[in-house]
Every structure is written in C-alpha cells, then in structure tokens.
Amino acid sequence: MIDKSQPVLKVEDLQVFYWSKRGPIRAVDGVSFTIKRNERFGFIGESGCGKTTTMMAVLRLIKPPGKIENGRVILDGQDVLKMEKEELRLTRWSKIALVPQGAMNSLNPIMRITDQIEDTIMTHDVGATREQARARILSLLDMVELPERVARMYPHELSGGMKQRACIAMATALEPQLIIADEPTSALDVVVQKAVMQTLIGVQERLGSSLILIGHDMGLTAQVLDRIGVMYAGKLVEVGEVQDIYKRPLHPYTQALIGSLPSLKEKKKGGGIPGLPPFLLNPPAGCVFHPRCQHAMDVCRQKVPVLREHRPNQLAACHLYEESNVPI
C-alpha cells in the first residue's frame, strides 16, 4: 500500500488568502516543499508568518474568510485539495494527523479521553470492535507514558502536559504516515516541554511516520529535527538540513533569526531583527524581506526571488546567490 519511494507529502505552489474588505491578505503565497519518509521536518519563523496556515491548508481546514487559492497538496500520491468530501474525511487522521497548538482547548471538555480517541478509531472503519479500540487506547496511553486511569478522565482533570500527551496518543491512534505537531509544547513549562517532546519523537520513531514540527522556539526544535524550512511573510525563504541552516544560513532572514537565538556558548548581541514583518494585505514588491534586509539591492525591490538550490540540499530564495548577482 505505502509506496516507500514516494515522498509522504509534496506541496506545490500553495496559496492561501484571507479575504478582507480591502482585498486579499496573502497569508501563504506560493509555498512548495517536500516531506520525505521517516523524516522530521521543522517550520520556523515569527508568529504570523504563515506556518500554521500552511499546515491547516494541508489538512484542508481553512475556514472562511480564508480560502486556498491555488496549489497542490500531494499526500501519499493523492491530491488532498481535489478529494471528494468522504474521501477527505477518511484520509484525515488515517494518513495525516494533528497534534494541535492549544492542547488546552483542543479536547472536547465534556467527553472522556477514551471516548474522544474511540470515536476517531470507530469512524474510520478499520474493522475494529469497540473492545479492540479500547484495548488499543490503553496501549496508546501507555506509549505516551500516561497511566491507564487517564482514559476515564475528562480534560479538565488533566494537567497541561498530560493533555498534550493525550493529544499525541490521539494523533497516533490510526498510525498515520504523517504527524503535524503545531507548537506542541509552547504552552508548557520548560521541564515538561522537554519530556513531552521526547515522547513525541519516541512515538514517531516507533511508528516510522514522518513528522512536521512547527515552532518559533528554535533551540528546542533544532535538536530533534532533520531538516528545517524557514518562513517569512507567507513565503518559504530557506530549506535545508539542520546543521547547514545553523552553521551556514544562506538567507539574510535566516541569518538574523539564528543570530537572535540566545546562545550559551558565546554572548552575541542578538536582540532580534530591526523592523516588523510586512502587512500582508499589501506586501512589498520584489522580495518581501527587502525592507528589513541589510543586503538589499535594486533587484530585490523589483523581482521576486525563486527558492533554488544554492548549496547541496540547501535551498534559498534570495537574489544574493543568483549567478547574475554577486557570487559567493
């Protein structure tokens, strides 16, 4: 069934607009990327840069006034955006699952944890009886290191970390090929963050699925990821292996982002990037980053840079590296 040679997910030229009275807000504008089998991929960028919107579009969960304007989302060989309603429903969670951003409010407050996992299993008609589903839920809870009694509990009886673990257990219920975790630890305190992240990675390795991790906390995510995509103002500006991105970032935005990362080894003067991300109702012409870029050239104000491989396995959308401009 699963064709291992194919990538799990291939997103091409995705565009998501939020329609306001004054025109479209270009939340995601021409994003393309590929997620390989078993890979852990991270999206980073400031809040509001379109990371979450991109993931919601992959799940086809964009709500009006938002709309997916263009693009292809090829999940396991099929275009999610072209699926019939029922096909889409059955694909969700069985092939692609979500560990939500706000685990605090992502569980139905008036249903027991076990019932919230059970309804997902039963609705996908995997041929399980209720008893089998319940037994499976207990083993899932065990896998995320939650005691059995949690199954009979309501969300308000759980701590933040326990809720997040319950969400991870839920996400793995149907052994999906791809798990999207949207800042899964942002609401937790530091000690719990680490433990929950380890659980998530452990579960992903056991299932052999791919993982997309969204986060603005670069320090924590960097340790566990294979590759990273950097987003800025609705565009993917750089993609590459973790070591490359950290050691030799190409895009000036990535450089600034890495620079602003508090480092224990050396006391660098980070302090963030001057200026604010653009308002996406009316993005700047050319490269969206040029108003804040130290290296901005004339071409940056006119031409939109294309995401291209400038080093092996390292892609960037920046005029600095185009051959017609300054070579490295």
Binding site: L59, L61, R89, L90, T91, R92, W93, S94, A97, L98, P100, Q101, G102, N105, S106, L107, N108, P109, I110, M111, D119, T120, T123, H124, Y154, H156, M170
Partner: protein
C-alpha cells in the same frame, strides 16, 4: 456531584420557598384594611355566598389567628403551609384551596411539561442549525422566522392563532378541554383522551411558537462561540462525520448554558402559560387563578400563586441536580 453543590442548590430552593411564602403572608397584612375585612367585603360583593358567612368568618378567623401576636400567626402559617394546608376557598366554601388546585393540576402540568420540553428541544436544535454551515437555506429561513417571533408575547400569539385557526378556519376549538357534553368512558377512554389533546393543540402551539425563538437566539450566540473553539477544528481534523461533530462536539457544548437558562426562564414560561390558559378557558391553574381573581377569592389566589412558585422552584432544583451529570466541569456556581 459534590456535597457543597448539592447543599447550595437545596438551600436556594428552601430559601426561595420561604421568601415566596413570607411575601404571601406579608402582603395581605400590609395592605390597607384587615384581611378578614377584605374577605368580608369581597363576600358582600358576591351576595350569593353570604348564607354561611358566619361559618366562613369563623374558619378564617381561626386560620389567620388574628387575636394572636404576628409572630405566632407567622409560625402557624408556615406550619400549615408545610402540610400543604392552604385554607378554604371563599367562592366555593367549604372546598379547600388544595382541592381546587389538585383538580386543575393535571391540565397545567400536562400542558406545561409537554410544551416546555418540546419548545426547549426544538429551539436548541433550530438555534444550532441556524449557525451550522451545512444547514439548507430553506431551513435557515424558517428558523429565522421563528427568531422574529421571539419577542411576541404568548397571549398575543394565542389571540392570533385563535383568530386564524378557530374563528376564521374553524379547524380547532377555541376554548375548553373537551367537546361539550363528552363524558369519559370506563377505564382509559382513548377517544376522550384524544379529545383533550385536540383541545390542547392551540394553547400548546401558542406557548411553543412564542418560546422557540428565545431558545434559538440564546443557542445561536453560544453556538457561534463553540464553533470557534479549537476542539471543533480538531474534531474535523480527526475525520469525524459531520453529524457527530454537530451533535457531540458543537451542540452538546453549546447546549449546556441553555440548560441553566431554562431554569431561569421557567418562571416566565409559567406566567405566560397562565394567561394562555385563561384565553382558552383551559381548566388549569391559570384559569382557576383568573376565576379566583374575578370572585375575589383571596385564599385561592394566594394558594395557586404559592403552588406555582413551589412547582417552579422544584423544577429548577431538578434541573440543577441533573446539570452536573451533563457537564463534568461544573461543580457549583450557576452562571
């Protein structure tokens, strides 16, 4: 369910009953003239009942205990209330108030319980469907019409319904509970029962049509909030069927506050149906109340109002006790 919640609810119930009965005790005594005088005056106005007036006055003197200090009167009054002893009717002496109430209870209780439950259920569903994306346009239009009827009071709606269905079209009877001259047969007479139902349709419709809009409105507001919650997005991401998302995730959560609102609006519903009964000469407690008012039958007026307050408080207590079973988070504090 925790004990604190239980005690609080029962406490509020008892407090309500106490305040209502104390008001009932105080109002006659604060009004100009003495209560027996008022009753005597009322009897003189009636003329017909004056035959056994001496007997009646004696009965009332004993009941009010007017020669005793006020606090003794008060304690005696509460004591007799606790035994559901509400005294005698003036207009129908020696019938007791309890007799009159118990004759009219089945009608009021039947009409009110059926209409309240139906109104609530229909209103809740309609309100939820109004903001649910997948609802057909035609259904939304129909629900909006009901929403527009929300501010129209029960009694006006009753008049309009009688005008159309009874006076103009002649489909439904305009008053009474059975067709004239109809007597129940042996045991359970299905035709007699159906006749009662037939006579109850217009009163029931007035109460329901006037009530549904209010629930639609409240539910609409709550549903908008719930639809924006993260757990609804996750429910969709989980690939659940639309029906299940609607029922278990959206509707059930949005419904909870309506349940407490039901407790609060119950008094309003009862007041409205009292007048509907009167307009339809439906022989429940509202109609009896009207007759008691026309014949200055103070004990019956007070008895019926007290009994209605008691029923409402009991129903609210029931709702409060059921509520924690529906919402695992709530342990106390009705909001």
């Amino acid at each position: 369910m925790n004990l604190q919640y239980l005690l609080k609810r029962v406490g509020l119930f008892l407090l309500t009953i106490w305040v209502a009965s104390t008001l009932n005790f105080l109002i006659p005594r604060l009004s100009p003239g003495d209560p027996v005088g008022a009753i005597l005056g009322a009897m003189q106005a009636q003329g017909a009942t004056i035959a056994n007036s001496a007997e009646i006055i004696e009965a009332f003197r004993a009941r009010f205990g007017l020669d005793e200090p006020v606090y003794v009167q008060y304690v005696k009054y509460l004591w007799s209330l606790a035994h559901l002893d509400l005294g005698y009717s003036i207009a129908h002496f020696p019938s007791t108030v309890t007799d009159i109430i118990s004759n009219s209870i089945p009608y009021t209780l039947g009409l009110l319980s059926v209409t309240t439950v139906l109104t609530f259920v229909i209103g809740i569903f309609a309100g939820a469907l109004l903001v649910w994306q997948a609802t057909p346009r035609a259904a939304k239009t129909l629900i909006t019409i009901f929403l527009m009827l929300a501010p129209v009071p029960y009694y006006l709606l009753a008049m309009i319904l009688v005008f159309f269905f009874s006076f103009t079209l002649g489909i439904f009877p305009n008053s009474g509970i059975t067709s004239p001259g109809r007597i129940p047969g042996e045991g359970f007479d299905i035709n007699y029962f159906l006749d009662i139902v037939y006579h109850s349709i217009l009163p029931a419709l007035s109460i329901m049509i006037a009530g549904i809009g209010g629930w639609v409105l409240g539910m609409r507001g709550m549903m908008v909030t719930v639809l924006g919650e993260d757990y609804l997005t996750l429910a969709e991401a989980k690939g659940l069927k639309n029906r299940r998302i609607f029922l278990r995730y959206a509707l059930r959560n949005a419904m909870l506050p309506q349940f407490t609102a039901l407790a609060i609006t119950l008094g309003y519903v009862v007041s409205g149906s009292v007048i509907v009964e009167l307009l339809f000469s439906f022989p429940g407690m509202g109609y009896q109340l009207f007759r008691a008012i026309s014949s200055n039958d103070f004990p019956v007026i007070q008895g019926i109002t007290f009994f209605l307050v008691l029923s409402i408080a009991t129903a609210i207590l029931g709702i409060d006790l059921i509520y924690p079973l529906l919402d695992p988070r709530i342990t106390y504090n009705r909001k």
